[in-house]
Each structure stands twice: as C-alpha cells, then as structure tokens.
C-alpha cells in the first residue's frame, strides 16, 4: 500500500521527507534571537525550536561557559560539555559576555538592538535592575520580543521570590506529579509517592510554550510593528496541560489522586503485564470495548460491564482479567492480535496497543529511523552524536539540524564584529578585562 | 599666458594646457608677427621676442584665442588653433534646429507659430485648444 504510486503515504513522504529538508527554505531565516539564559533548559529548548526553523540564535554565556553545560547525568562530559547541553545547543552561535560587569551589560544592550528576540531566565527583576530589562531595551528597539522564564513569573504576589528556576520544582507546582505514580499503599513508602516525569518535562513544556509565544508575538509584530514582553513560567506551562484537575475540583470539589497505570475517566486505558514485559492497551469507548472483548475472547465482559461507568467502577478487577489473558502472551503477540483484529476489520471497534519501550527499544525500531526521528550528526567540534531530530515534517519549510554545539565563545569574533564592529584589538581588551 | 602684441595691440591667449611648459614659436593673430616664447610653469622665462617664421615651422603653436583691445575676436584658419569641435560647423551660438537629425520636429530654438503646422503646440500657441 505504501508504495503504490498514488498512495497517500507515498505522497506524504515525498512532500515531507526530512532527508530533503536541507534543499528547502527555512521559515525563520529572517529572525535573530539572543538567548542569554543561564542553566535553564526551558529557555534552551525555546531557542532550539527557533533555531531548528532557521532563526539565527546567538547563545550568550558567561566567560567560561554556562552552568547548563555542567548539567549531565553522573557528571559525564563529552569534550568538556555535559550531555544535556549537547542536545539543546543545536544551530546556535556561541558567544561569551559577562553581565556582572557594567561593560558587559553595555555590550548586551547594544547587541539587543540588532535582534528580534531576547530570551533570558534570570531571577525576575534582575535584568531590569542591571538596566538591560525589557523596559530599557524596548526603548532602543521597539520591535523587540522579550521572553523571560521563571518559576513564579514576572508578576503576582510570589513573583519577587528569589528562587532559581528548575525543572523539578516546576513539575511539582504544575500538579502533574501529584497525579502520577502509585497510589499510597500499593508499593513501598519509597515508591508510592507523587512521581515526576523522568525527563525534564516541565522545562520542555515551558520552552515549547515560550517558542509558541514568540511566534505569536512575531505574527502580531508583522501586523503592528511592535514587539512585546513575554512572561513564561514553566510551572504554569505544564499546568496548562493538567487535563480537568481544576475543573473537577471546581465542579465537585474532588481532588484528582494517583492511580498508577489506571485512568480515572476511562477503562481500559492502561498498562498490563505480559509474559515478557508490559503493554499498553486501550479500548474504552463502548464500541472499542466490544472490539477488545472480542480480541480477548471474553464477550461476557462486554455484557457485564457495558458502560464506561461500570468499567471504571470495577477497573481493578477488569485489569486483573486483562492481565490474566496477557500472561501467556508476549507484548509483541498482544500487539499482533490487536493489529490483526483492527487492520483486517474482524469486528467492530478500534483497539490500540503498544509494547512498553525502554529507550534502547525505541532506538531499535526502524520506524523512527526511517522517519528521520533520530539523526547521527557529524559535528565539526563534537564529533559524531546521536540526537533526536526536530519532531515536525513539513512540506515547504522543514526544520533541520545544522550543527550540534559550539565551544564556549566560539563565535565571539564573528558576532561581535558583525553586529558591533568590535575588531580584534577591542575584543582582546575586553577579554583581558573579563568582559567576554 | 597673455601675449599682447606690441605691434598691433591684439591680445593673444596662450592657453594653459598647451603652453604651460613650452619653448618654441607662436604667432600674433592680429598682425602675423612670429614670436619666440619660452614658458615654464605658466610664467615666461624671458619676454617674447619677435622672430621670423612660417606656418610650417614644427615648433610653431598658435594661440588658442585672440581679441582686439576693444574685444573683437580674431580667429580663423592660420590665426588661432581650431577648437575641439563636435561637428564641422561650430559657432558658439545657439543653433536654429527645428528638425532633428532624422528629420522630425524638435525644438532647438524659439519657434514661430507658423512652424508648428498641425501640431498640438500650434493650437496652444494660437490660444485655441484642438478638438
């Protein structure tokens, strides 16, 4: 089917194949971004997105490099840089500048006149106190879009709280961990607790929202000619994603609690243990539940639990029934049976299933490689790296990775010369003064 | 250099580019007296001396222009050097051009209404608008 000349997948691949991305134009190649954030992967992800779409992102670090270069599992370094930073430095130019010094702040203000977007993650009010906050910069460049990240935001009763911005605290505030994890009593006291996402989810969500807001502001600027100030709290960013938690409390004064692998609204939408691993399985609407009971060979369950309400009420029992069925099957066999039913339309309903993947399993699946989800980059400074590619396939202006990372201050000469006209001697002097 | 002829009073203009540094003969445009002149950096090295000569002398250079004490120009073949000319007949006066080089109407000088036969301009000149 995939290879028929007029088939949809073949056509879709032809127009969006990321292997051809470099032959197409970039959507944001008219955008210039100054990322002055420190130790903050929300900001780094925001500027990564813009950079993937072609913006010229100038990443500003203090002399010696940003602390974000140190955030790395077990302190592992690759050519002097932590692993996490290697992922989010893509397509960026790297310059150094010491904002602790007045001369550094002066240069920052001058650079900001040349860019469309400034991104920072300092404690609220810090940049303003230094005279390089939005108030001052927008006077010199009214078209500037200024994006600031911090946990409690730039205004509100707690905004002045001087705590640094971290993923873990942002996750905690967002409410997600409270609803994630084993219910109290199901496991030991160590593990039946609110659980955070293993990755830096709140930082990634915050960065995504930051980039979204910059783009919205950019579209507004096309209409109005005016830039603006964007206040993005990664905690609130992930909070926006917390389903109906607030609604439920508002409607029924109910607090949503942890349910392990179950879901409070539907069943089945759950992970089940299989012979070799775990599988996810879903078939929660009435018709899909019919389909699932057909696959499992238990039409009686459909008879006994015909409504969502009935299924949620007995979800633990039904979960055991499903695990009983799966105990003799591998995860792949579960998936094959489901796919056989769904793809060959052996009965009503659509059931979804998936094998639980460790990251190494994900890497082992050809689907991702075929779709260019992972890329092995031959970076001029950092050698071969395996990176996750930008997640979008686009027909005209696809995103792309051009390089992975640059050493600290690698682009000083080019950037300072190009935008500020600082020649070699001046740069050397500034370096000696510790400004860059 | 200005060479005023002692004999006839005509002012001969020895213009700067040909004569700035020059040693040879020149000739008064008024009375055809030949002069030996030597000029260095625009100034005569010694006063001009009348000498004999002919138009064929290899070291003869005619003045660029000459005029009489009452400002009548003295020019012409064998009198002064010819001007750089854009065409054969050059006078230094506005030329009565009505037709251009391909024979169509162009106004090179004030036109009389009768010259504007059939033109829109003629109607305007006569105070009438063509219909």
């Amino acid at each position: 089917m995939t290879d028929q000349p007029h088939s949809w997948p073949r056509y879709a691949k032809e127009i969006t194949d990321p292997a051809l991305a470099h032959e197409k134009p970039e959507a944001l190649d008219d955008l210039r971004v100054l990322d002055a954030s420190s130790g903050n992967f929300a900001a780094l992800f925001a500027s990564s997105i813009l950079a993937e779409f072609g913006a010229e992102v100038i990443r500003l670090e203090p002399p010696g490099g940003d602390v974000a270069r140190l955030f790395s599992p077990q302190g592992v370094k690759h050519r002097g840089t932590g692993l996490a930073y290697l992922v989010e430095a893509r397509n960026k130019r790297h310059i150094t500048l010491n904002l602790d010094k007045p001369a550094g702040r002066e240069l920052f203000a001058r650079l900001a006149r040349h860019v469309d977007v400034v991104i920072e993650s300092a404690k609220p009010g810090q940049m303003d106190a230094w005279g390089i906050g939005y108030r001052r910069l927008s006077a010199g460049n009214p078209r500037l879009i200024y994006l600031a990240f911090s946990t409690y935001g730039q205004f509100g009763p707690k905004a002045a709280s001087p705590i640094p911005d971290y993923d873990i605290t942002n996750q905690a505030l967002s409410g997600t961990p409270y609803t994630t994890g084993e219910p109290a009593g199901e496991g030991g006291p160590e593990s039946s607790v609110p659980t955070k996402q293993g990755n830096w989810m709140a930082w990634y969500v915050g960065g995504g929202w930051g980039a979204f807001a910059v783009l919205a502001a950019l579209i507004w600027r096309e209409a109005s000619g005016q830039g603006q100030f964007i206040d993005c709290s990664p905690a609130e960013a992930e909070m926006r994603f917390t389903d109906y938690d607030i609604h439920w409390y508002h409607a029924n004064k109910r607090i949503r609690e942890r349910l392990g692998a179950l879901n409070v609204s539907v069943f089945p939408y759950t992970l089940i243990k299989t012979k070799d691993s775990y599988s996810f399985i879903a078939g929660f609407s009435d018709i899909n539940w019919t389909g699932l009971t057909n696959i499992v060979g238990r039409p009686d369950l459909k008879e006994r639990y015909p409504t969502t309400k009935a299924r949620i009420g007995e979800s633990k029992l039904l979960h055991r029934e499903l695990e009983g069925w799966a105990a003799g099957l591998t995860s792949q066999e579960v998936l094959d049976r489901v796919q056989d039913y769904v793809a060959n339309k052996r009965g009503p309903g659509t059931v979804a299933s998936a094998r639980l993947n460790r990251p190494s399993d994900t890497l082992g699946e050809t689907h991702w490689w075929e779709r260019g989800v992972f890329e092995r980059i031959g970076d001029p400074d950092y050698g071969e790296l395996l990176l996750q590619a930008p997640p979008w396939k686009m027909s005209r202006t696809p995103p792309r990775i051009k390089w992975a990372c640059r050493p600290v201050g690698a682009d000083n000469e080019m950037v300072y010369l190009k935008y500020l006209g600082l020649g070699r001697e001046r740069l050397q002097a500034l370096k000696a003064e510790g400004v860059i | 250099m200005l060479l005023k002829c002692d004999k006839c009073g005509v002012k001969n203009y020895l213009d700067p580019y040909p004569f700035w540094n020059f040693k040879g003969k020149t000739k008064c445009a008024g009375c055809d007296t030949y002069y030996a002149v030597e000029i260095a950096n625009g100034s005569p090295v010694r006063p001009a001396q009348p000498v004999g000569g002919t138009l064929k002398d290899p070291d003869l250079r005619l003045p660029g222009f000459a005029d009489t004490p009452d400002f009548k120009p003295v020019t012409g073949e064998g009198k002064t050097r010819p001007a750089p000319r854009a065409r054969a007949d050059v006078y230094g006066k506005p030329k009565p051009v009505v037709r251009n080089s391909r024979g169509r109407l162009v106004a090179g000088r004030p036109l009389k209404p009768e010259e504007l036969v059939g033109s829109r301009a003629r109607y305007i000149a006569e105070g009438k608008e063509p219909r």
Partner: protein
C-alpha cells in the same frame, strides 16, 4: 559600422512575438524588450519623492527613483529655475518647448538626463508662506531629496528636523560635497571638485612621463554616479521602512566620500606600503596586455566632422598566456612568448613600456576596425574606442533600448539614453525628458495642497511660486 544611417525607433517597436520554448537570446529579448516596458508595472508606483535639488547630484538621485515609477516633484526657484537649465555645450544646443511656453524659455542640454519623469513646480523656499506649502507636501511624501548646502534648509525651517516632526516616515536624503559635519563641511562642491579631491583625478590620465596631466572623467561622474548611490540607499531605506520598521531616516551622502570609495587598491596600498598610486594612462596596472592603443589611420578620413577624422583607438586585451601567445603571433612578435613568459613578466612597467609601443607601431597603417578584425580572427579580445555617433548608431544599443528615440510631449523627438539596467517584471523607464519651470504648478499644488486657481494666481503674483 553596420548601423550607419539606420536608426530604428525601438521604444515604439513591437515586442517580439512570444514563442514556446524560445532559445535563451530570444527569451531575453521577449523578457527585456523595451517595447513592452509600458505594459508592465512600476516598482515605486504610489511613492512620492520631493526633489529640492539643483545641478546633477541631487536631481539625478531623484530621477532614478522616478524611472522606477515614483511621482517625483521637482521644486525650483521661480523664474530662473535651477542653474543647469542654463548650461549647454558650447552655448549651442537649447530645447524649446512645443507648447504654451513658447517662446520665452529655453533649457540647456545640460539639464537633460538628470530630470526624467519629474513634475516641475516652482517655490521660493525662503518665504514663510512657501514653508507652509512645503510642510503640506512633506506630509504626503515618502522621500525628500535635497542638495543645498548643509544646514540651509534647516535654517529655513524645512530641514530634516522640522519635516520629521510632520512626517516620521519621511526618508530625507541629503547629498552634497563634503558632508554636513567635520572640518571641511563648509566647502561647496561640484562634480569635478569631488573627482579632484576624492582622488579619481590623480589616477586618471596619461602619466607625467608622457607629458600628460591628471584628467577628469568626462561625465559628471561624481554627480551622476553619486546620485545613483543616494538612490540605492533611499531604496534600501524604503525597503527597511516598509518591511521592517515603519520609520523614516536621514541619509547623508558626500560625493567626495563616494569617489574615495572607488579608488580600488590605492588606499590599502598606501596604507600598507606607502606607495602612492599614480596615473598609468590607457594601460592597466594589474593586467597586461589590457590597454588602449592608437591606430595610425582614421576610420572615416573623408568625414567633415573633426571627431571622425581623428585616428582610431582600440582596446586590446590578451593577458592570459594563451591569448598573449596568439597576439604575439598575430602581430609577428613571436619572440614575446619567450621574452615575457608569465603574466608577472608582462605586467611590469618596463615590459608595458615595450609592448604597447610595439603594438602601436604595428597598428600604424591600420584603422581601429582593421586592428579589431585581425585580432578578433586570432581570438583576441578587442573593443574599438567608439565615439558618440558610433555608440548611438550601434544596433546593439538601439535594440536593447539603451539609446532610443523618445517622443517627448513637450520637446518633440529627442534621442535619449534609457535606464541603466533592465528588469523583467518592473522595468525602469523614461516617460518624458523634462518640462519647463513650474509646468505642473496647477496639477501638484491643486492635488496635494488643495490650492484654488485664485490662490495659485496670487502666489504666482507674489513670486512665491
């Protein structure tokens, strides 16, 4: 000369008939045909340019914008108009309008070429009532071009500082000699002063050793080209205003500065080595053979025009080794290949002093066409030095519309240059050559300032316009 006597009028010729899959030249002819110019849009349609300019530098800047379709309004002092109207070669050629201005005022040919497509109004800038008119015009304009001495308009209350208050989107282009600040700012300038002080003079002309003097470029180069630089900057400012910022700006162009920008390697060479670049006549300092030589015979010995009686000159270019070898062979100097093995050997001053005289000696009994023909056959690059008549009559320039007959509504049938470059979709164009002083007073003041006929009459009587 293929073109002698034949003078096609290309502006009115029909465009070539489009064919499917034309070969490249045909495609170009279709695309750039001067005959289809007027069927295409103009880039600057809807933009308005005020031009308070005189001589060439300022006016040409405005007219380049006019060629691209801007509505250029040229303001002159009432009655006398600007000085270039009185400037004409040898006092011989004047244009008199075929219109109601007959027969008062003639316009010198010097005015031609720098004032295409403009609307002409008159205004006495000194008068306070004129100032009000200027404000009303500036409020509706996109570009202002001005080349009075620096500060003059400011003093009169119609400079950048005043007009930007009225119209913050205005792009104000000031062009002049030495710029408005710095020790030399008070100096007035003309084209040849720009050429002289910018350094162009000192590297042009025959060298001292051949009795030459520093020479000017015959055209008012620093003016006409300077205007082009001003127009380029103004266009860029328009781009920036309309696509990026919405803001106007002030542009300062110093023509001396422009000329010194053109000096090629002269300044870096001086800075590095202390070597002062000098004149090198008709030869080239960096390439040899790449120079103009004199041919002994005139191409038109029987012409009565002294310009045509003169001996011919031709450019010979053979600096690559193979070309040079062919040249040596063609003129019977095979030993040159041995003598001047490399380009470095050929290009030294000593070699040049030997090679070019030898070439001239060889060309002594030939016309420039004969030289060109012989060398063309040998595969060597040549270009005869053409005079105005040869250029104007050459079918290449005629077909390309670079020189064309222009049916000017006011002055009749005049031969004119076309725009300097060709564009496929929005070609620049010459619509009319010029108009008499104040020709468009009614139109412009009526349209933009809302002046009634009576007000116009009064202002005219008071010599404000």
């Amino acid at each position: 000369m293929a073109a002698r006597g034949k003078k096609p009028n290309n502006q009115n010729a029909r465009p070539p008939k489009p064919v499917a899959n034309p070969d490249f030249e045909r495609y170009c002819r279709q695309t750039f045909s001067p005959a289809s110019t007027f069927a295409k849009p103009e880039v600057l349609k809807g933009y308005r340019v005020l031009s308070c300019t005189q001589y060439i530098l300022g006016p040409s800047c405005a007219t380049y914008l006019g060629e691209l379709g801007a509505e250029v309004i040229k303001m002159e002092l009432p009655r006398r108009g600007e000085p270039m109207r009185h400037s004409t070669p040898g006092n011989e050629g004047f244009l008199y309008p075929l219109s109601r201005w007959v027969p008062q005022s003639g316009t010198g040919l010097g005015f031609f070429g720098a004032n295409f497509n403009e609307y002409f109004i008159s205004m006495d800038f000194h008068r306070s009532e004129a100032r009000e008119l200027m404000y009303r015009l500036a409020a509706k304009a996109d570009v202002m071009v001005e080349n009075y001495r620096p500060g003059t308009f400011d003093r009169w209350g119609i400079g950048y500082r005043q007009l930007r208050e009225i119209n913050p989107r205005l792009i104000y282009v000031w062009l002049g000699g030495f710029g408005g600040w710095g020790p030399g700012r008070v100096r007035a300038s003309y084209d040849i002063l720009g050429q002289a002080q910018g350094g162009a003079f000192s590297i042009t002309g025959q060298p001292e050793e051949f009795g030459g003097s520093p020479s000017k470029h015959t055209i008012w180069l620093a003016d006409y080209w300077g205007g082009m630089m001003g127009a380029l900057h103004a266009l860029s400012a328009l781009y920036w205003r309309d696509n990026v910022s919405g803001e106007g700006t002030f542009i300062e162009y110093s023509q001396v500065h422009g000329v010194s920008r053109q000096l090629e390697y002269a300044l870096p060479l001086y800075g590095r080595q202390g070597v002062i670049r000098e004149r090198w006549g008709n030869w080239d300092t960096e390439l040899c053979v790449h120079g103009i030589i004199k041919c002994g015979k005139s191409s038109y010995p029987n012409s009565d025009n002294p310009q045509e009686q003169e001996e011919g000159y031709v450019l010979i270019s053979a600096y690559e080794d193979e070309d040079f070898a062919r040249l040596a062979k063609a003129i019977g100097q095979e030993k040159w290949v041995r003598l001047y093995k490399s380009h470095d050997a050929r290009v030294s001053p000593e070699s040049q002093r030997e090679i070019y005289p030898a070439l001239e000696a060889w060309a002594k009994d030939k016309t420039k066409e004969q030289v060109a023909q012989i060398l063309d056959r040998a595969g060597i690059i040549t270009q005869p030095v053409w005079n105005a008549k040869e250029v104007a009559g050459h079918p290449h320039w005629r077909e390309r519309g670079s020189i064309r007959w222009l049916d000017d509504p006011t002055y009749g049938d005049v031969l004119s240059q076309g725009p300097a470059y060709k564009m496929s979709d929005t070609p620049p164009r010459v619509k009319w050559a010029l108009k008499p002083i104040g020709a468009d007073n009614e139109l412009i003041y009526g349209k933009l300032c809302g002046l009634s006929a009576e007000e116009l009459k009064r202002l005219e009587a008071e010599e404000i316009i």
